[in-house]
C-alpha cells in the first residue's frame, strides 16, 4: 500500500502523462514538413529491429535485481526459441503469443 495521499497519486499520474507525451509528440510537430536525409532514414530503418532485439534479450536473460540467467533451466530461453520459429514461419503476433504461452506453461510443469 502506498503512503501517498490521493492528491499525490493524481499529481504523479499527471506528471507521468506529461513526460510520456513529450517524446511522442515532438517528432510529428517538428519533423513532418522536412525532408529527412538519407543517412537518417537508414538509421531509422534499424530502430525497430534494434529496440525489439534489446527488449527480447533483456526479457529472456535479465532477472529482477539485474542478475542474469544463462542456465539451461531458463524456461524463457527455450520457449523463445520455439516462438521465434513460429514467428518466422507465420509472421503473426497471435500465433507467437499462443505458442509462447503454451510452451512456457508446458516447460514450467514438465521441466
Amino acid at each position: 500500500m502506498t503512503t501517498m495521499t490521493h492528491g499525490e497519486i493524481l499529481l504523479t499520474i499527471f506528471g507521468m502523462s506529461v513526460v510520456s507525451y513529450i517524446p511522442r509528440v515532438l517528432p510529428p510537430l517538428f519533423l513532418s514538413n522536412r525532408k529527412i536525409p538519407r543517412s537518417v532514414e537508414n538509421w531509422l530503418k534499424f530502430v525497430p529491429t534494434s529496440v525489439f532485439g534489446a527488449l527480447v534479450f533483456s526479457e529472456i536473460f535479465v532477472r529482477p535485481g539485474y542478475t542474469f540467467d544463462f542456465s539451461m533451466g531458463n524456461i524463457s530461453l527455450w520457449a523463445s526459441l520455439i516462438v521465434t520459429a513460429v514467428a518466422c514461419k507465420t509472421r503473426s503476433i497471435g500465433a507467437s503469443i499462443v505458442s509462447g504461452l503454451a510452451s512456457f506453461w508446458l516447460l514450467q510443469h514438465y521441466l
Binding site: 499527471f14 517524446p23 525497430p48
Partner: protein
C-alpha cells in the same frame, strides 16, 4: 487543420486483435497491482488513458507501492523508460506527414511498442494500402483494450490469481512476434541480435530501461553505416 479521421474495418480489427489478446493478461495484472498499491478505479483509468505505457506503468506502480520514491523520481523514471517512443515517433513521421496538426497530436499519444510495430509494418508494406485513419483506429482499439483490462484488474483485485511468470512471458512472446516483422534481410537480423547482446552488457550498469535506449541508438548507428556502405557499393556497380 484539426481534422482527425478514424477508421475501424476488418483489416484494422485483424491487426489489433493479437495486440488486444496480449494486453488482456498484462492489463489485468497491471490493474491488480494498481489496486494493491492503493489506486482507485478512476485513478488507473486515468493512468491507462493518459500515460499508456505497459512497462512504464508497472515500474511506476511498483515505485509508488514501495513508499520510498519521491514523485519527481517516479516521473523522471517514467520519462526515461518511455524515451524510446521518441525513436518510434520519428520513424512513423514520414507516413503521417500529410495529416493535420490535430491528427499528429492524437496519433502521437497512441505510440507504444505494439502499435508502433504493427503500424510501421503495415505502412511500409505497399500492398497493404494502410491509411492514416486505419492506423489511428488500430491504435485506439488496442489502447481501449489496455484501458478496459487494467480497470477490470483493479476492480477484480485479489479475486484474480495471476501466475506472474506466465503473464510476464506474454510480453516476451509478443515482442518476438513484433521483432519477426523486421527480419527482412540479414543486416536487419544481425543488427537486432547485436542490439540484444549490447543491451545485456549495458544492463549491468544502466538502470530503468536506459540500456534499451542506448543499445538501440548504438546498434541503429552500426546498421546505418552498414546500409550506407551497401548503397554506395550498389551505386558504384550500377
Amino acid at each position: 487543420m484539426f481534422g482527425i479521421q478514424i477508421k475501424i474495418d476488418k483489416q484494422v480489427l485483424l491487426a489489433s486483435l493479437p495486440i488486444m489478446m496480449g494486453y488482456f493478461p498484462l492489463g489485468l495484472a497491471c490493474g491488480v497491482l494498481a489496486g494493491s498499491v492503493g489506486l482507485s478505479t478512476l485513478d488507473i483509468a486515468l493512468m491507462s488513458i493518459f500515460v499508456f505505457a505497459g512497462s512504464g506503468q508497472f515500474i511506476a506502480l511498483a515505485m509508488m507501492g514501495s513508499g520510498a520514491a519521491a514523485i519527481s523520481s517516479i516521473v523522471l523514471t517514467t520519462f526515461i523508460v518511455n524515451l524510446r517512443h521518441l525513436l518510434y515517433s520519428s520513424t512513423l513521421v514520414k507516413y503521417i506527414s500529410s495529416g493535420s496538426r490535430g491528427y499528429h497530436m492524437a496519433f502521437a499519444q497512441e505510440i507504444v511498442d505494439e502499435t508502433f510495430a504493427v503500424n510501421e509494418n503495415r505502412f511500409s508494406d505497399k500492398e497493404a494500402h494502410w491509411t492514416m485513419p486505419q492506423a489511428l483506429g488500430m491504435a485506439y482499439a488496442s489502447h481501449g483494450a489496455w484501458v478496459i483490462s487494467t480497470v477490470l484488474g483493479q476492480i477484480l483485485g485479489s479475486m484474480v490469481e495471476i501466475d506472474i511468470n506466465l503473464v510476464g512471458y506474454t510480453l516476451t512472446a509478443m515482442f518476438i512476434g513484433l521483432w519477426s516483422f523486421h527480419f527482412k534481410n540479414h543486416r536487419l537480423i544481425i543488427v537486432g541480435l547485436f542490439a540484444g547482446a549490447l543491451a545485456l552488457w549495458l544492463s549491468t550498469f544502466l538502470d530503468y530501461k536506459l540500456h534499451i535506449v542506448i543499445s538501440t541508438v548504438a546498434a541503429a548507428t552500426v546498421g546505418m553505416l552498414w546500409e550506407n556502405s551497401v548503397q554506395k557499393d550498389e551505386a558504384v556497380s550500377a
